[in-house]
Structures are given as C-alpha cells and as structure tokens.
C-alpha cells in the first residue's frame, strides 16, 4: 500500500465529495422534461376515457415511444443517467411521483365509463402531478447527493 497520510486521505475525500456535488448539479432536469411527460400521460388518460380501444392503445404506444425519447434526450442533455434511488427519502419521493401519475391512469382504465368531465379532470390531474411532483423528486434526490457529499 502506498504511504498515504491523514492529510492526503482528507484531500482525496474532499475530491470525492466535490464529485458528488457535481453529479447533483448535473442532475438538474431540463424545464421541458416534466411538462412533456405530463402531456404524454394526460393524453393517455384522455384517450382511455374518451376514445375507442384501438385509439387508446395507440395513445399508450405514444407514451411508451415518447417516454423513451424523453429519457434519451435527458441523458444526452445531462451527460449522465440517474440511478434508481437508494435512500428512503428519494425512494419515497419517487413513489409519490409515480402514484401521482398512475392513480389517474388506473382510475380511467379500471373504473371505465366515466363522464367526459371526470376524464378531463383526471387527465389534468395527471399533468399537474407530473409537473409538480417530478421536480420535487429531483430536488430530494439532489439534496440526498449533496448531503452525502457533505458527510
């Protein structure tokens, strides 16, 4: 083993912490990301609630393709792909975000035969949940990374 002093070790740990902070800064989601994702989900909710099955299936395909493109665009933009959260706080924030998206989808799919107004309200709630809860998850995740960097 190389002879490493306590001072050298501290300096190396500082470099590790700096890298953590840099990752946290890079994981800033582009402004268009969550509104675009929200619109994709909202159109799926509306399609499943208002349109015939073949068109609803097409709208689900649009979500799959669109979400894939969004993830690819985000990765190209940031130069990194985020890990699945391994802390309780980030995991909880992700679960709340996912629930905000999935609950309107599940209501429309499972309940069925809803009034058009109800469907549009659910679509709007999916859009709002995505736009509001997505950045909250990002913020919690970045805070976790910064907190580890400071530890």
């Amino acid at each position: 083993m190389e002879n490493v002093s306590g001072h050298d070790a501290r300096r190396s740990l500082d470099a590790v912490a700096e890298s953590r902070r840099e990752v946290a800064a890079r994981l800033r989601t582009p402004r268009w990301y969550y509104p675009a994702l929200g619109l994709l989900v909202a159109q799926m909710v509306a399609a499943h609630g208002l349109l015939a099955s073949p068109l609803a299936v097409l709208s689900s395909l649009a979500v799959a393709v669109g979400a894939g493109w969004l993830v690819h665009a985000y990765a190209s933009h940031a130069g990194v792909v985020a890990r699945f959260p391994d802390s309780l706080r980030s995991g909880l924030a992700l679960a709340v975000f996912a629930a905000g998206i999935m609950v309107p989808v599940l209501i429309v799919v499972l309940v069925g035969d809803l009034a058009a107004t109800s469907v549009l309200l659910l679509a709007a709630s999916a859009l709002v949940a995505t736009v509001v809860l997505g950045p909250v998850y990002d913020a919690v995740n970045r805070a976790d990374l910064r907190r580890r960097a400071a530890a």
């Binding site: 490493v4 002093s5 050298d8 070790a9 890298s19 953590r20 990194v80 792909v81 990374l145 530890a151």
Partner: protein, 108 residues
C-alpha cells in the same frame, strides 16, 4: 458500512474522481467525465482502460442516431472496491483528525 481496504487502482486522483462520479449515477458519458476531470481525451481513456482492465468499469457504445457516444458505468466489484477505499481513506483521515470520524459512517 464497507470494510476499509486500500485499492491502488482506485487511489489515483483521476480514477478516484471517475469512480466517485460513476457510483452516484447509472452511467455517465465520456465527454461528461472529461469535463468533470478537466483532462484530455487520451488521459481519460488511459484511466478508464485501467479501471476496465480491473473489472471496475464497463464501457458501452450504444448504436443509434447521430454520433456514437461512449458511456461508462461502474460494476459491482468497482462499487465494492470504491466503497472499501473510501472507508480506508476515512479511517486514515480520522486517525489524523479524530473530529472527522463521523465521515466513516457514510455508505457508498
């Protein structure tokens, strides 16, 4: 908490930074690592090759539209080696400065 274990492969400053960045993400692009380290392509390539040869990092060049980008991600053994090395650094730092012993509880 990881078992403190000094790792010569991870210890070099540039490789330590590469590992520190990669453990925090699923994968990172070559250009991102280069910008983060502030080194030339050839220097980064050399360090990545050492990490790849040690089985700590894997590189991928996904086919797709536009220019081909190289993505790096840390392996399970790389994550273990990095965590053990950081634990050893924390132990050494705590020996020199007992007030920094708190950092020894951090999980990577």
């Amino acid at each position: 908490m990881s078992v403190p274990r000094f790792d010569e492969v991870v210890h070099a400053p540039n490789r330590l930074q590469i590992c520190a960045l990669l453990v925090a993400v699923d994968r990172a692009e070559f250009a991102t690592l280069r910008e983060s380290l502030g080194v030339a392509d050839s220097v980064l390539s050399k360090h990545l090759k050492v990490l790849v040869d040690a089985g700590y990092v894997v590189l991928a060049k996904p086919a797709g539209h536009g220019r081909v980008r190289t993505w790096a991600s840390i392996t399970g053994s790389g994550r273990t080696a990095f965590a053990g090395h950081v634990a050893e650094l924390q132990r050494l730092a705590a020996t020199a400065d007992p007030s920094s012993v708190e950092a020894g509880t951090e999980r990577y």
